[in-house]
Amino acid sequence: MKEDLMDIICCPLDKHDLELEVIRRDEAEILEGRLVCTECGEEYPIEDGIPNLLPPDMRDEAAA
């Protein structure tokens, strides 16, 4: 994901802002990292550049 995505994404549960923690990036993209809700603390992973913003109760179902 590109960093400017932070301008429009939010926590799917309570719609509060997310904080970006970068683990790995190249010039244009954040490839691995975490998006952490500033309100509820829920963590959403960034996997191979794709932010996984599924609510936690849907992650297992969709992972199959």
Binding site: M1, I8, I9, C10, L53, L54, A62, A63
Partner: protein, 230 residues
């Protein structure tokens, strides 16, 4: 209504259907129908558009012909993999995994929102339609394509048994309940089944060019940035 009871069965059905989806899908949702829907959608170059339930990217491809700012969201990694093959994973389209009923986007983040062939998966369609209204700017278009309730024949039997369909009356109810005042439905389909899909084009309340039917008072009382029921 029986809709929610049927939902679980529909999910199971689609789970198996998804394995052959790209072979079956063109029979009910083809390029011509997509282009007709794009005409109704009416977006312009530069518009930021969210494609909810983008799946393998069939509609996404049409959206990209109209604007370069396309954002795709889908629940299923398997469906997205096919879209990555078409567009690249981090190239023409920005992809996200997420839930239609709990969108991970801020209020008014998009100029327009498109969702085709996805509503039949949602347990609570009205919740998703409310979310669409929230993330699209006032006055922006929301377009939803779903399966029309068949009038007769084998498809009707199938609809009653496992799949989720809705007719115009049901679409009216869902969009009204989700807070839309201005919307209309168009049925579409291939020649041999011309009403198999129902496309609804709605407009998020509060825009500058409010519905022609709206009274002057409603327009004056609803400033674009502070709609009372948002």
């Amino acid at each position: 209504m029986g809709i929610l009871e049927n939902k679980a069965r529909a999910r199971l059905f689609y789970k198996y259907l998804s394995k052959v989806y790209d072979q079956i899908n063109p029979f009910i949702w083809n390029e011509e129908m997509r282009n007709d829907s794009l005409e109704l959608f009416g977006i312009e170059e530069g518009d930021r558009v969210l494609d909810v339930g983008c799946g393998t990217g069939f509609a996404t491809e049409g959206l990209l012909e109209r604007t370069e700012k396309v954002y795709g969201l889908d629940q299923s990694e398997h469906q997205l993999e096919k879209a990555y093959e078409k567009f690249g994973k981090r190239d023409q389209v920005r992809f996200h995994r997420g839930d239609a009923e709990r969108l991970p986007f801020a209020d008014d983040a998009f100029d327009a929102l498109w969702s085709s062939g996805s509503i039949e998966y949602w347990p609570n369609p009205v919740d998703a339609l409310e979310e669409f209204r929230r993330v699209v700017k006032p006055g922006g278009p929301v377009l939803v394509v779903g399966p029309n309730y068949p009038r007769s024949g084998v498809f009707r039997k199938l609809a009653d048994a496992i799949m989720l369909f809705y007719d115009e009356a049901e679409a009216d109810r869902m969009f009204r309940e989700a807070g839309y005042g201005e919307f209309r439905h168009v049925t579409m389909g291939p020649d041999y089944n011309p009403e198999i899909a129902i496309t609804t084009i709605a407009r998020v309340p509060g825009g500058a060019d409010e519905a022609p039917g709206a009274t002057a008072a409603e327009i004056v009382d609803a400033p674009a940035d502070a709609s009372a029921d948002d």
